[in-house]
Point group: none
Chain length 225, copies 2
DNA sequence: TTAAATATTTAACACTGAGTTAATAAATTT
DNA sequence: AAATTTATTAACTCAGTGTTAAATATTTAA
């Protein structure tokens, strides 16, 4: 069950959000101020925390900063909530370790969609990194040791090369689009030149053998053996 | 390539948003008012439309309402854009078939993040119809792997061929008109040479066997087994 | 800290074949 | 048979990819 904690000092909003999230099947807990929020966060370790920014005593930014100190919350998504007319820097919020920034008022539909989108994003980025040793064809890929072997030969891959390779090998046969590769290997916000992926693919082929990585023209690349 | 249409009557904002989205690699077109927006939307069928609300003659709400009448735009994301001090109901906007509501002024980073988030959301909800493997007759069609097999024989299809085949196979027996095929496979109703589909059908028949794809003269094509 | 080494991105250009077009033949309908 | 629609074929174009080298960025060593 996905656990969500909402921290807001306005009881009406709290109830509104709680109602809508529970309707979607989430396990929701609530807190009326930052300190209570911190305590409840520590006791339940939610999957996602919705933090109002403007709160008495301890505002959302402080709560976020506090939470991000504890590795326990590394996997926890934090999204800020702010009134439309409060003029906070969204960038600052995201730099503090927030994952999103929702403006009030917000419709139930938009709110729950956003929450779900965030959870989806997390889930998919989680499962991209199966932290185990993959054996496939004559290859051994050890994610933890950042090591690739073909037979007894050790293949040295650079970080990006390795991540790209892991992505492809993770789902043999599946065709990954360039967009998908950018998002999963480079992370969404990085813009890189048109030929970057090609170059990395080329280096990979050079190192691990060009038979494994296949181009599907107009679509993307896949690992195949 | 992801196509985005921006409709706003303020040239400065138009330019600002266009610049930032193009920098991120999107294919951006712009319109200065609602009517022009509708026309451009119809000709290019964008993946996402950014609609300013306050515009002369035809406001964003009207444009949205108009667009939502046409099933051609079922897959198109619409996000509204409004100045912070204009006091529109976000809920009304969303009920009209909008997907998000962005408040000006907005930083480039936040703006592009939002756009990307929306596109991501669409994509993942698209694939809610899980990329399953279709088995029909002696054929296996694996969308994820972009792969068709007949018995043990692997059949290599080009992108358009594959998409065309998926469309037909998706509803066995249904007759697809040329117009329908253009819209769903080519993504526009821009008229491309009128023998193009025939050629693709021919190549498909050549590769997967000519018994499966049947011509209904004067109407279109269907998959049958 | 700077310098050297390595990794990554950008840019420029070459290459390939998917997709389109056009021209002609065949099939179907009227 | 004439008209209309579809099939076939081949030639052409250009978007998408491969390749290389040079420019940045990052990491490591001194």
């Amino acid at each position: 069950m996905t656990k969500i904690l909402i921290v807001d000092d306005e009881p009406d909003i709290l109830e509104f959000l709680q109602y809508n999230l529970e309707k979607e099947g989430f396990e929701v807990s609530v807190a009326n101020d930052g300190e209570e929020g911190l305590i409840k966060a520590h006791s339940s370790v939610p999957d996602l925390i919705v933090l109002d920014i403007m709160m008495p005593r301890m505002d959302g930014f402080e709560v976020c900063k506090e939470l991000r100190k504890d590795p326990k919350f590394d996997q926890t998504i934090i999204t800020f909530l702010t009134a439309k007319d409060e003029d906070y820097s969204q960038i600052a919020a995201l730099d503090l370790g927030g994952d999103d920034f929702i403006t009030k008022p917000v419709s139930p539909r938009v709110f729950t969609s956003r929450i779900k989108a965030l959870l989806r994003r997390k889930k998919s980025s989680d499962s991209n990194i199966p932290d185990q040793i993959i054996q496939i064809a004559d290859l051994v890929i050890d994610r933890e040791k950042v090591l690739v072997k073909r037979g007894e030969e050790r293949i040295e891959l650079a970080k990006k090369e390795f991540e790209l390779f892991c992505l492809l090998v993770g789902k043999p046969g599946k065709v990954f689009t360039r967009e998908e590769i950018f998002r999963k290997v480079w992370g969404t916000d990085v813009i890189v030149g048109n030929r970057t992926i090609d170059v990395h693919i080329r280096k990979l082929r050079e190192k691990v053998g060009s038979d494994y990585i296949k181009t599907i023209k107009g679509i993307g690349y896949k690992f195949e053996f």
